[in-house]
């Protein structure tokens, strides 16, 4: 273990420079946040991930955000274990009818002010599962969504851009 730790200390960090926030998303968000009169939470957001029906592809890429290349926590973003500790719900999947109530209750358990990020094509628009008897549809059909991130699944970089847009916006909305 010592050699492994020593090597890690000596080698250059794997962490890559941050991508810039998604501009289009930023403008749209800035408006919605100002109008909602949201108070800024500082550059630190606690995220609760909710799989509301995903195929688990999105979860794999959300996991990747924590690896050394993307290192989500350097931005003050971190995943928490309970909606009661969260500022942001990061929701994936077409919302299945069997998960609808759980999603609504998770949202209700999250203290205000809160934001919802719909991650992935299913969460944005139901994806290939559109029209199924077992799916409600996009996340926005169940709870209000602030940011939607495209992709099937979205790459960690796309996820990072969407989340950074949220951070930048909470800065701007205070200014």
């Amino acid at each position: 273990m010592r050699t492994l730790l020593l090597k890690s200390l000596l080698q250059a960090p794997l962490t890559e420079p941050a991508p810039t926030a998604d501009d289009a998303e930023l403008d749209r968000l800035a408006q919605s946040l100002r109008s909602a009169g949201h108070r800024r939470l500082g550059r630190s957001l606690a995220i609760r991930e909710v799989d509301a029906g995903s195929c688990n592809g999105c979860e794999l890429e959300i996991h990747a955000l924590n690896n050394a290349f993307y290192d989500l926590e350097r931005f003050g973003l971190r995943f928490v274990a309970s909606p009661r500790h969260a500022d942001v719900l990061l929701v994936t999947g077409p919302v299945t009818k069997n998960m609808r109530e759980a999603l609504e209750r998770t949202w209700a358990a999250t203290p205000d002010p809160k934001w919802v990020v719909a991650a992935g094509d299913c969460a944005r628009g139901c994806g290939v599962f559109a029209g199924s008897y077992a799916c409600v549809g996009s996340v926005a059909a169940v709870i209000p969504v602030d940011v939607a991130i495209a992709g099937c699944p979205p790459t960690p970089t796309a996820l990072l851009k969407g989340l950074l847009a949220l951070l930048e916006c909470s800065d701007r909305s205070r200014a």
Partner: protein, 503 residues
């Protein structure tokens, strides 16, 4: 003669497609099959509904056969009482198709939580209330017992499901699972879909196994059409399948160590996993290689310089992975958590026909790449690691050894990659009612795909059976007598799919 062959010959043959047959059997034969399975003569590969029929796919090595029970009265004899691995599948058939397993010991709904607004969506499809049906969990009673309900929304970044623990102090007396939360209605979405659309859906049954699912679906369609993918496509499909296996095993090994509070291995495995996904992106244009395998071949040939990226990857993992394995093996605090935790008995694994690392860590060597086998694996050299201990540690070691095998397979695949086209010219139209079956080895175990096609080239029916169907129930057994704090470790060492199971 094998009993399966005798049963098939006594039944009314329906289809004798390449590699397997299907026969319609009566009540007596249906029960007799269950008795054979219960006595350990062969294992069940799948049990699913199809209009007014139920199909039971059985493996009696080396033979695979499908037995069909016609249910004009919408009933069939339940076999779950004799052979418990069938229980949840029968409950799912009742929920979706409204075909009743007569005399089943468990009549509770499984996938249908009373939220769909319809009953029997693939059967009579009648409107129903959507306000949620109560669910009767099994009781475990007595003064020291307490209940711990967990989920469907869990603490980590994982899929939703409900676990109900009955504990005596720290010790788990009973775990009961309730699944179905991510049921998306996949079998009905597939009905009438074009092959292209259906392949996309198949690739999203369980995202972590998108390559394996797309491969299983494509092979089933190709079997139904009586065509074979070009050799180069077969080999590149195997490259993708092995990359997927390596990526998932790295993720699992890291996550298991993380659940034992050993973050260092998790961090390093995360780096290696990311390198695999980046190589996949370089070679095939998508990190998880979604939608790359299609009926008739693959959607695009290797990108330029792809072979270089793969060689670099093989070298890089080959160099750094052994250090992590040594660290795992030598860290007493980690071994203290994984060794002798969550022991799964070999007899149960054989009874349930559990595949993948769950089966192989408890003595069951089945690997669909070896038997029934599919190209190009007969041309490659690899071992199927098997252990007997059945604990979390053994499931970690199976992954470690499989990862090494997959690295060697990748090198062999690259060295012998045939030239040529990677996709058939337009596929022939199917004979109406043509059927095809495929069994493919995903990272988690064997995936079964069965399709029936319409004459216009659309899907009439498709069933995709995840390996988790035969692994989830065993987690309930493996956790018994362990402490609550070891559940995440045991659960992660199984890493069953919720989405693949819930369909």
């Amino acid at each position: 003669m094998a009993w399966l062959q005798q049963t098939m010959e006594h039944g009314r043959p329906v289809c004798a497609a390449a590699g397997y047959g299907r026969a319609i059997v009566d009540d007596a034969a249906w029960i007799a099959v269950a008795q054979q399975l219960a006595s350990g003569q062969g294992s069940m590969l799948g049990l699913w509904g199809d209009g007014e029929c139920v199909h039971l796919c059985v493996l009696q090595e080396p033979l695979i056969g499908i037995l069909t029970h016609a249910c004009p009265s919408r009933r069939f004899p339940a076999i779950g009482g004799l052979y418990p691995p069938a229980l949840r599948l029968e409950r799912a058939i009742h929920d979706l198709y409204g075909l009743e397993p007569v005399a089943s010991p468990d009549r509770r709904a499984w996938l249908d939580h009373g939220r769909w607004g319809v009953h029997q969506p693939l059967g009579r499809n009648q409107a129903a209330a959507a306000d949620g049906a109560p669910y009767a969990f099994h009781a475990a009673e007595g003064p020291p017992m307490h209940l711990i309900p967990v989920g469907p929304v869990h603490a980590g970044i994982i899929e939703p499901g409900h676990f109900r623990f009955t504990a005596n102090g720290e010790t788990i007396v009973r775990l009961e699972q309730r699944l179905g939360y991510v049921h998306k209605g996949i079998e009905r979405i597939m009905r009438g879909a074009t092959l292209e659309a259906a392949a996309r859906v198949a690739g999203r049954v369980s995202g972590d196994s998108t390559v394996a699912y797309a491969l299983a679906f494509a092979r089933a369609v190709e079997a139904a059409l009586g065509v074979m993918a070009p050799p180069r496509a077969d080999w590149l499909r195997a490259v993708m399948a092995e990359l997927e296996r390596i990526a998932n095993h790295l993720g699992d090994i890291g996550a298991i160590c993380n659940d034992a509070a050993f973050a260092l291995i998790h961090a390093h495995c995360g780096v290696l996993r990311e390198e695999v996904l980046r190589a996949a992106e370089t070679c095939f244009g998508h990190r998880l290689m979604m939608d790359r395998i299609v009926p008739g071949g693959i959607s695009a040939d290797l990108q330029p310089h792809a072979a270089d990226a793969l060689h670099t990857l093989i070298d890089s993992i080959g160099q750094r992975f052994p250090e992590l394995v040594e660290l795992y093996d030598r860290t007493a605090s980690l071994q203290d958590r994984t060794v002798a935790t969550g022991i799964l008995k070999p007899a149960l694994v054989r009874h349930y026909g559990a595949g993948g690392f769950v089966g192989r860590a408890s003595g069951r060597a089945f690997d669909a790449r070896k038997a029934p086998g599919y190209p190009p694996y007969a041309d490659l050299t690899f071992d199927v690691p098997v252990r007997e201990q059945g604990d979390v540690d053994a499931r970690v070691w199976i992954r470690i050894e499989e990862l090494r095998q997959s690295l060697s397979l990748l090198a062999q695949l690259l060295a012998q990659l045939p030239r040529g086209v990677v996709r058939l010219p337009p596929l022939p139209l199917a004979r109406h009612g043509a059927e095809g079956l495929a069994v493919v080895e995903g990272f988690r175990g064997d995936i079964l795909a069965w399709v029936r096609l319409n004459g216009d080239g659309t899907v009439a029916h498709s069933h995709l059976r995840d390996p988790s169907w035969f692994q989830w129930p065993l987690l309930e057994a493996a956790i018994e007598g362990n402490i609550v704090a070891d559940f995440p470790l045991c659960n992660k060492s199984f890493n069953c799919s919720y989405s693949g199971h819930d369909l």
